[in-house]
């Protein structure tokens, strides 16, 4: 009965929460892993090659002059560089020679707030890391310890919402009791989502990403049917191709840069349940679910933040 399902779901969420409180961020780390760090004196365009070559979209920065961790390089930084370039087309030379330690100046030049990623000690409860990550609106959180001899920060690793939800999906059997339709849980972001169509200039879509503080913009056809999505990480391919200086480029043309191993945009409906959502996260590299109705019309989006918030704070 729906009542029984609701009770089961409530108990399962509370049990998963206890699991997150009982584990540490250190527990999520594989037994052996690599951490790619970039010296802040690298050129921004070199750092882009390194990210793409290693199939990653973010990396911690290290300032060798102060011997300290200097924050995270993320797709937001590349979006800032593109916006700076569009406001200052004569500054192509400067953009070309921009170093990673110049990214904070770019933020100030275009008037955006630095992305506060916060940080947490690897042996704090995983629950605390999730809360800190959600507070900072970043989708990732550096795990910082201190070198025992020099007292300097060590970047142990960087946890992402995706890795944490995958860890839950892999280790919490209680996810199988999350059977209430997501439409009933009030966790879908609905209403007038920021959106565009295939002919919208890609620079306008990039503005929407910044303006909305979101990491993806759905692309709909003239009837409102979902046809594709432009993601913040797509900006890396745009810059790599050097085609970002083409004002007339449409978002549909910019999406031609996507590599063939892109898995596609995941959709679901209001009737789907978290049990299958979490199962999909367990098996695939999915970062959000666009909610459509039976005919495929866009009605909302369910992000990993929405799912994490529900597990941490609801029920």
């Amino acid at each position: 009965t729906p009542e029984a399902i609701a009770i089961e779901q409530k108990l399962a969420v509370q049990s998963i929460r206890k699991f997150l409180e009982s584990k540490t961020s250190y527990d999520v780390l594989p037994v052996s892993y690599r951490l790619i760090v970039m010296d802040t004196s690298l050129l921004v365009k070199k750092s882009l090659n390194i990210l793409l070559q290693n199939n990653i979209v973010s990396a911690p920065l290290w300032d060798s002059r102060t011997s300290r961790f200097a924050g995270l390089l993320t797709s937001s930084d590349f979006i800032n560089v593109i916006q700076y370039y569009f406001s200052n087309p004569d500054k192509f030379e400067l953009v070309d020679k921009l170093q990673l330690d110049g990214l904070r100046d770019v933020e100030r030049a275009i008037g955006v707030r630095p992305l506060d990623t916060g940080s947490i000690h690897p042996f704090k409860p995983l629950y605390d890391a999730c809360c800190k990550m959600l507070e900072s609106r970043s989708r990732r959180i550096p795990l910082i310890d201190q070198d025992e001899e020099t007292r300097r920060e060590i970047v142990v690793s960087v946890l992402t919402q995706y890795r944490i939800l995958k860890f839950v999906a892999l280790n919490c059997r209680e996810t199988r009791y999350l059977k209430r339709p997501i439409g009933e849980l009030g966790i879908i972001t609905e209403g007038d989502l920021l959106r565009c169509d295939m002919h919208t200039p890609v620079i306008d879509v990039i503005q929407l990403l910044t303006q909305g503080g979101v990491s993806s913009i759905p692309i709909v056809d003239e009837h409102g049917k979902l046809v594709n999505v432009y993601e913040a990480v797509d900006v890396l391919g745009l810059i790599k191709g050097g085609i970002y200086n083409d004002l007339s480029l449409s978002v549909g043309e910019a999406l031609m840069r996507r590599s063939d191993d892109f898995e596609g945009v995941y959709t679901c409906t209001q009737n789907d349940k978290l049990v299958t959502i979490m199962d999909t996260i367990r098996k695939s590299r999915v970062h959000r679910f666009f909610v459509v109705n039976e005919e495929g019309y866009l009605t909302g989006v369910l992000t990993l933040s929405d799912i994490l918030k529900y597990i941490l704070f609801e029920e």
Binding site: Q53, E149, L255, M256, R257, D260, G264, T269, K273, T276
Partner: protein
């Protein structure tokens, strides 16, 4: 437990191949010029230390010269270990160096012969010392030493490798 009535799906028109076909069918001009990011990632080839085919004494000379240019110091080698350099290197970073934070990094550089005229220079971190002399607080036991940041060591080795690359 497969939930039969799951409606989770991948949007077909978002798959790169289908999107590209749609764009070309639409006759978009730029579409013919824009190629997808290549998926093949050129594998980084890793080496232990750095390789050299030069004459061993020349290699050692190059290293001493590079260390000197970089302001590092080293212990006078004894007869039996001509191929080991015990380096001490002041890590001058812009941090207000309070007395108890060690700022002298120790490193062991050793030349190994792989085979006839094929040598390998290995770099090994060897702890910290404070300028005021004396070793930093030696970790009470092996396990304690696990909160170690390799980044200062990695940074100094990049400087040394660059000096060697530039000189050679």
């Amino acid at each position: 437990q497969k939930d039969e009535d799951s409606t989770i799906a991948i949007l077909p028109s978002s798959l790169p191949q289908i999107h590209r076909a749609n764009m070309l069918a639409e006759g978009s001009s730029a579409a013919t010029k824009i190629s997808p990011l290549s998926t093949k990632k050129s594998k980084t080839r890793w080496h232990f230390g750095i390789r050299s085919r030069s004459y061993p004494l020349d290699v050692m000379g190059e290293i001493y010269l590079a260390l000197k240019n970089l302001g590092a110091e080293w212990a006078r080698p004894s007869e039996e270990d001509l191929w080991i350099i015990r380096v001490r290197w002041k890590y001058d970073c812009k941090q207000p160096s309070t007395d108890n934070i060690p700022d002298l990094m120790k490193m062991v550089i050793q030349l190994f012969q792989i085979e006839a005229n094929n040598y390998l220079v290995d770099f090994k971190f060897d702890g910290w010392e404070t300028s005021q002399g004396g070793s930093a607080t030696p970790s009470s036991n092996e396990d304690e030493m696990s909160t170690f940041s390799a980044y200062p060591f990695l940074h100094l080795t990049t400087k040394l490798i660059m000096e060697l690359a530039v000189n050679s």
